[in-house]
């Protein structure tokens, strides 16, 4: 394939929040990092992202993503829309990712925010057993607190009980406001419902929550997300201070201004700032794999040996490719529309 060059205006994610690794923006991963590294983004809302994002993510070394069920921005008004959303997480979105060499997993749950619509919440809870045990569902999540209302607590607890009953992991969303109290209460509830801390991933941590979460033996995930959550320079310092045990980096990229390349870019920054490569590998790949592979629904052979999975899993009749060839080698071979 011939190499093509293109201008900055065609670069994906020209985002001043993040250091662009290279002026010639999407370069193959090996050139980006001077290392051949694989990444997992264990918290990203791909249904809000484009197919082009998948292409660039794969080029930057992302081999697997986990898409937690969450809020779509527009509140849903009936259980049917949740049903279709859950179906797309285990169906279409997984297929779309596979077309670009990315393994897609998901977590299923009623998110904290929408637990406040109680009539709806009760119906959604009834739907969960239809999805919780499907292939590639790695946890119940993301659940937890938003406003810390009674309704949120009620449906959080119901879902913890379901996770315990089905012997599943849990992914916890910690609130934007009153985060520390929300994180602590979430962990206490998990223990109360009989979950082992090793089965629970607490996400959206910051400098204020990390000690408590690690100290209690839970997995501590960090969302590299502009303004509201963790920054990647701050993340470097967290890893410098706390090491790499049970720490996980993710993007939580969604319909907001966010970066689906946050994990590899943070890895780059860690390497640039002297974090040992094995620590970078742990927080950007291995820990997510160790945490989520406990379900048996996610394993490295899924992406290291992908031909073994696809035979029965193709949506051949309906492709995102619109006549293009799958398995495109690089972004630069794709961006020009001929």
């Amino acid at each position: 394939m011939k190499k093509r060059t293109y201008t900055n205006s065609q670069c994906p994610m020209p985002n001043a929040q993040f250091p662009m690794p290279n002026a010639q923006c999407p370069m193959p991963n090996a050139q980006l990092l001077n290392h051949t590294m694989m990444f997992i983004d264990p918290h990203i809302h791909m249904c809000s992202r484009t197919t082009y994002d998948y292409l660039v993510m794969r080029e930057y070394g992302i081999v697997a993503v986990i898409e937690p069920a969450f809020w779509l921005g527009q509140p849903r008004t009936n259980a049917g829309t949740f049903k279709d959303y859950f179906s797309s997480l285990v169906g279409w979105e997984r297929f779309r990712a596979s077309q670009f060499g990315i393994q897609h997993y998901c977590t299923i749950g009623l998110n904290p925010k929408e637990a406040n619509n109680e009539a709806l919440a009760a119906e959604v809870i009834e739907l969960l057993p239809l999805y919780a045990c499907k292939e590639g569902v790695v946890a119940i999540g993301e659940i937890g607190y938003d406003d810390m209302t009674e309704a949120e607590d009620k449906y959080f607890c119901q879902q913890l009980a379901l996770a315990k009953e089905l012997d599943m992991l849990v992914l916890i969303h910690t609130p934007h406001r009153n985060k520390k109290a929300g994180a602590i209460q979430s962990m206490e509830r998990c223990i109360e419902y009989g979950l082992d801390p090793s089965q629970v991933i607490i996400d959206h941590n910051n400098e204020e929550t990390v000690e408590e979460v690690l100290g209690r033996g839970f997995w501590a995930a960090f969302t590299i997300y502009p303004q509201t959550k963790m920054g990647n320079a701050r993340m470097v310092e967290v890893v410098r201070k706390y090491g790499c045990n049970r720490i996980i980096v993710d993007s939580s990229a969604d319909w907001g201004i966010s970066d689906p390349l946050a994990v590899p870019k943070t890895a780059q920054l860690m390497l640039d700032r002297g974090i040992p490569e094995e620590h970078v590998r742990a927080v950007c790949y291995e820990n997510a794999l160790a945490a989520y592979s406990q379900t048996g629904q996610m394993k490295a052979s899924d992406w290291l040996n992908p031909q073994s999975i696809d035979q029965r899993q193709m949506f051949n009749g309906n492709s995102v490719l619109r006549g293009q060839e799958p398995g495109i080698k690089s972004v630069s071979d794709f961006v020009l529309i001929e």
Partner: protein, 295 residues
């Protein structure tokens, strides 16, 4: 235990661990004794977690036994999770016809309907493959027609290919759509069970029209397209066959010749006699539709 149950049990006992088998039997028993819906839903989804997804290892005798129980049933390409899921479907309460309607396609508490409408790809394949084995199969006509509309080729194939359900239960409109779609998506037609028995004049007309569309776009048509056409060819279609015999590649010519041989029209026999080599190959049994079965 029904014959189908016995066979599936026997095959699974050869293919999965004792522990996995015990899990499956426990779930079957719970579902059979009227456990809550949740038990059925979670177990149905969780089957690959416990049984894995290897292919069933079936012998020629196993396949014959399947064919003896339900003509057209071909589990030769089934995996252990598909067999396990079928056993769970067969464990659903079925004695009360009214209740069975409800669980299969009712409105009040539609268990099976809910499973279909929330199924992932692997589950859909298992569900559609199992249709010919389920009790009260006539209740699933609408569901089967829906499966044919799927845009997932493996789901479409689970119902269209190596499955006796469509030939036995679909009406002509749905059947014809299925055959036409199989041609459209490039599925091998010889794997459609009952294709020759369910050939009909409307299907022949639809297939010939489809060939015209392809020719207009300067695209080829699969020679198998002519297989359900010959017996119902009218004079317009004989003209098409004449064109294929004159201009087609070898396989297309052979297919057109076979179609002519199957036509009762004197016009078709006259056309075939212009190609004495093909005619004698057919008469001597050296050229049959089996020659078009793709490897």
């Amino acid at each position: 235990m029904s014959k189908v149950n016995k066979l599936l049990h026997h095959w699974l006992s050869k293919s999965i661990s004792e522990k996995a088998f015990a899990w499956l039997e426990q779930k079957q028993t719970q579902i059979y004794s009227g456990a809550a819906e949740k038990v059925f839903f979670t177990a149905f989804s969780a089957v690959p977690r416990y049984l894995g997804k290897e292919d069933l290892q079936l012998t020629f005798q196993d396949l014959e036994a399947a064919e003896d129980v339900i003509p057209g049933w071909y589990p030769g390409n089934w995996s252990v999770d598909q067999a396990g899921r079928t056993l769970l479907l067969l464990a659903l309460p079925r004695d009360d016809a009214e209740a069975y309607v409800r669980v299969s396609f009712g409105e009040a508490a539609p268990t099976l309907d809910q499973v279909f409408s929330t199924a992932d790809m692997g589950e859909l394949v298992a569900l559609y493959q199992s249709l010919p084995l389920l009790p009260h199969p006539e209740l699933h006509r609408h569901r089967a027609a829906e499966g044919i509309r799927s845009n997932m080729s493996n789901v479409f194939q689970a119902i269209a290919l190596r499955n006796p359900y469509p030939a036995n239960y679909l009406d002509n409109a749905a059947w014809n759509q299925m055959v036409l779609k199989a041609v459209f998506v490039g599925s091998p037609l010889h794997l459609i069970w009952g294709l020759d028995q369910r050939a009909n004049p409307e299907l022949a007309r639809m297939l010939a029209n489809y060939a015209h569309e392809r020719w207009a776009a300067k695209r080829s048509v699969t020679p198998e397209l002519w297989r359900p056409v010959g017996r119902f060819a009218d004079s317009t279609i004989i003209t098409d066959l004449e064109k294929v015999l004159a201009n087609g590649d070898t396989a297309e010519q052979q297919a057109a010749a076979l179609a002519c041989a199957e036509s009762p029209l004197p016009q078709a026999q006259a056309l075939l006699s212009c190609y004495p080599d093909l005619q004698s190959s057919i008469q001597q049994g050296n050229l049959t539709w089996n020659d078009f079965n793709r490897k």
